[in-house]
Symmetry: C2
Subunit: 346 residues, 2 copies
């Protein structure tokens, strides 16, 4: 494997803490260029140190403000702790970090924007199947190699792709808020199953008790811990890795915290819980287990893309288009079209 001088420079720049190199590398990696891949090959050996924290929840929960305040508090801890370098990766199209909203959060971010220990990256939210999760994984690895000690990954938390992105994290925080239409309906069982920490934000609003009670009830129903390493059909089949629940991990009971993010209330307590969860994972072997799960997911996506590219290059031009035309005219079924295409390449 050979490296171009430019790529080595990019990767070395990232390792040396150069922000311009970092931004350029992230763009290359996000776009899946050869330069980006080469840089990743160099940087990958330096990954595995950052604490990856996923923050997910519906729009209207004030999740972006919470991320903002978390980043601020990690940079300027109230106690005698050293400040940690923190990165924010926003995958939510409605997040003010990605420019999807027209609210005042940007202004509130200004005091963080000038801080060299903070880096904010918005992901493009359009892309092919699995493309966003894959690009997010790569971006997170570059930031990890660049020495950011905590990486906050913000997702909207409603669809399967967001659950896939949440699976990148060591610690997953699910954010709710009172008064979002119907409290019961807003609580998504699938999301609760992956939650390590639950936050009721906007806890100064009426209805906070109802929201918390509903969360607690849903949490009991969701049995979060045994499902954390739930069988993920495809992945398990690929690698034959046993993802059965680690019983030692079942001692972590997801706590429910109240916050008022825009006023900073409850944020120090939330940071403490996040830190405690990391310690718990390290103590119980859960850290390595989640690392393996994460890398397995990434390997799976990369393999899929690679196989598809290889397949395309071996087909004669127009072969897929002909198969598609036969399907559209109902001459053959989609399954039959796949068989036909497979037989074309022998």
């Amino acid at each position: 494997m050979s490296f171009g001088i430019v790529d080595m420079d990019l990767a070395l720049g990232v390792l040396a803490g150069d922000r311009l190199s970092l931004a350029r590398t992230l763009s290359q990696v996000e776009n899946g260029t050869d330069e980006g891949k080469s840089a990743m090959d160099t940087l990958f050996a330096h990954t595995g140190k950052a604490h990856l924290v996923g923050i997910t929840g519906a729009s209207g929960t004030g999740k972006s403000s919470l991320v903002n305040q978390l980043a601020r508090h990690v940079r300027r801890p109230a106690k005698e702790l050293p400040p940690r370098r923190v990165a924010v990766v926003a995958v939510d199209p409605t997040s003010p970090f990605t420019g999807g909203a027209i609210l005042g959060d940007r202004i509130r971010m200004r005091d963080l924007a000038g801080d060299p220990g903070v880096f904010i990256r918005s992901m493009a939210t359009r892309g092919s199947l699995g493309g966003i999760a894959s690009a997010t994984a790569a971006v997170v690895q570059v930031l990890d190699a660049a020495g950011f000690e905590m990486i906050l990954i913000e997702t909207v938390g409603a669809g399967q792709s967001e659950v896939d992105i949440a699976r990148l994290a060591h610690t997953t925080i699910v954010v709710e808020a009172p008064g979002l239409g119907d409290d019961i309906q807003a609580i998504k069982a699938g999301i609760l199953e992956i939650a390590d920490v639950l936050v009721v934000n906007k806890a100064d609003l009426p209805g906070v008790e109802n929201t918390e009670r509903a969360l607690r009830g849903s949490l009991d129903l969701a049995h979060p811990i045994p499902h954390r390493f739930m069988h993920h059909g495809k992945l398990e089949t690929i690698a034959g890795v046993n993802n059965d629940p680690d019983t030692s991990e079942s001692t972590w009971v997801p706590p429910i915290l109240r916050t008022v993010a825009i006023e900073g209330q409850g944020i120090p307590e939330l940071v403490d819980v996040i830190t405690a969860h990391r310690a718990h994972l390290e103590r119980t072997g859960g850290w390595e287990q989640r690392e393996r799960w994460r890398l397995q997911t990434e390997l799976d996506i990369l393999l899929q893309n690679r196989l598809m590219d290889g397949f395309r290059s071996r087909l004669s031009p127009g072969a897929i288009e002909q198969a598609l035309a036969a399907v559209q005219s109902r001459k053959i079924s989609p399954f039959q079209a796949v068989e036909k295409l497979m037989s074309c390449i022998g």
Copy 2:
């Protein structure tokens, strides 16, 4: 290609309108069994007639009640139109159709449940990458072959996977409601780009004017029509099909309707708009264009799964696990692991 007697019976049962055969076929197809594939090969020639209508929106918008009322109105039209057979496919984990919520909607569904012209199917919402979209596409095709004239596909409408599912539809309805936290934040640009019809449900609540104004503003920003056939990187590369916007389609301006679903207000008007959109698509060639887009997506997913299965079967046992271990110990990068695995199979 040979068919088992059982499969033929299943497919023939579906075509003859037998509900038990339909339910069994749907289960086989959803689980991707060989029986299901054989049934699909028989049934596929009978697809392409149903009007596929996607209904998407955040939880709390009353989307499920809207789907319920739409189904009821299509069955019992107010005018002198004949009733149409209607199916509901619920992909939303918070939908009362899928059992995710504990509300009274089930009770309201009872009068539909006894009607042989109505069929309701809930999708399992857990699955591998692309798995839900693929299974939904297959389920919709079976219902199409079974003679349901309108198929309502309900999704939660926030993540990329929901956008992928929405792309299955000929007509996509995006539902909003007043008072869902912050109106502006609740409106998702990515979703608006695929909207053919916008509905402000719960229009009897205060704030309806604000919600409608915000929707209209976002709609202008989103330029929905030129983006409907936006380049979908991967798919376009596969088939080399030109998905450029059909200029003849750009005459459809997504209307904004107000409804109060639980009281049936605005529902006849919504059905009229849905019908008008179908007529528009048929007149402008948009119907065939969307059909092709839909089948192209399906072919892509089937190919990916097939390639992955073939690859796995050619690797020696434990090969992926070894590669994963090397990645986890940071000896090689994920990209390098993929190269290594590819070279194993020659």
